[in-house]
Amino acid sequence: MSTDRIEKKVVLRAPRSRVWRALANAEELGAWFGAKLQGRFTPGARVQGPVTYPGYEHVTMDITVERVEPERLFSFRWHPDAVEPGVDYSGEPTTLVEFHLEEVAGGTQLTVIESGFDRIPLARRAKAFRDNEAGWAEQVKNIERHVSS
């Protein structure tokens, strides 16, 4: 029932050194994240760059590097879902994104953990879905149907 964190595990058929480069090299990270990033990922460094994903070109990807432990752990903080034009997110809490690397048979296991969502104002979280909101009464009906069928 956690609303605070996301955890993803994926096995990549590539050596750990290759996966590490795709994470710890700003240009490579940008390439698969969909942002034009430049700079060096060292602890405490702030790295920014324009998002290249269609429809989100007005957004700047903005991360602050936390930990860099070669081929083991890379982590940064950012403002998740900071996509609304003209909104200053700097005063809001950040989430922590961690990439853990582990060697497994046939490649590298990558675990991604993003945590700290419960500190993001609920109004901000809810806003993203205002259009899709179903009333509670409707949900109760759905649940009733589910448990009575």
Partner: protein, 113 residues
């Protein structure tokens, strides 16, 4: 950074919620609370075939599942549904989760090439 989606939470996450609702009295309480306005235990117990104490117990089960919450209004304790807020929080996480899936698929392509 992909467009947003609003899928409902998966079955594993929903299980405790359904377990809490798998009781006639609790379902009736949720339906009453679902009409939108906060209710006291006395109001909730009205016309119910169970005691106020039983209603209180059931409310705590629902509260534990994150479906309702209570607050004080004067001397009375009021109850209201929490599920909509929780559902919002989960949908938000779900959309971000989907974005991670997409980003990791791109990473996979990049490093496995």
């Amino acid at each position: 950074m992909s467009p947003r989606s609003a899928r409902l939470a998966g079955p594993a996450e929903a299980a405790p919620v359904f377990a809490a609702l798998g009781d006639e009295t609790r379902l009736a309480l949720m339906t009453r609370l679902g009409r939108g306005q906060p209710l006291s235990i006395a109001e909730l117990a009205q016309g119910m075939p169970v005691t106020r104490q039983a209603v209180t117990k059931h409310l705590h089960v629902l509260s534990h599942a994150g479906l309702v919450r209570d607050f004080r209004r004067g001397r009375e304790r009021m109850w209201q549904p929490e599920a909509q807020r929780l559902a919002e929080a989960r949908r938000y996480l779900d959309a971000i989760s989907k974005r991670w899936d997409e980003a990791l698929a791109r990473l996979k392509t990049l490093v496995e090439d």
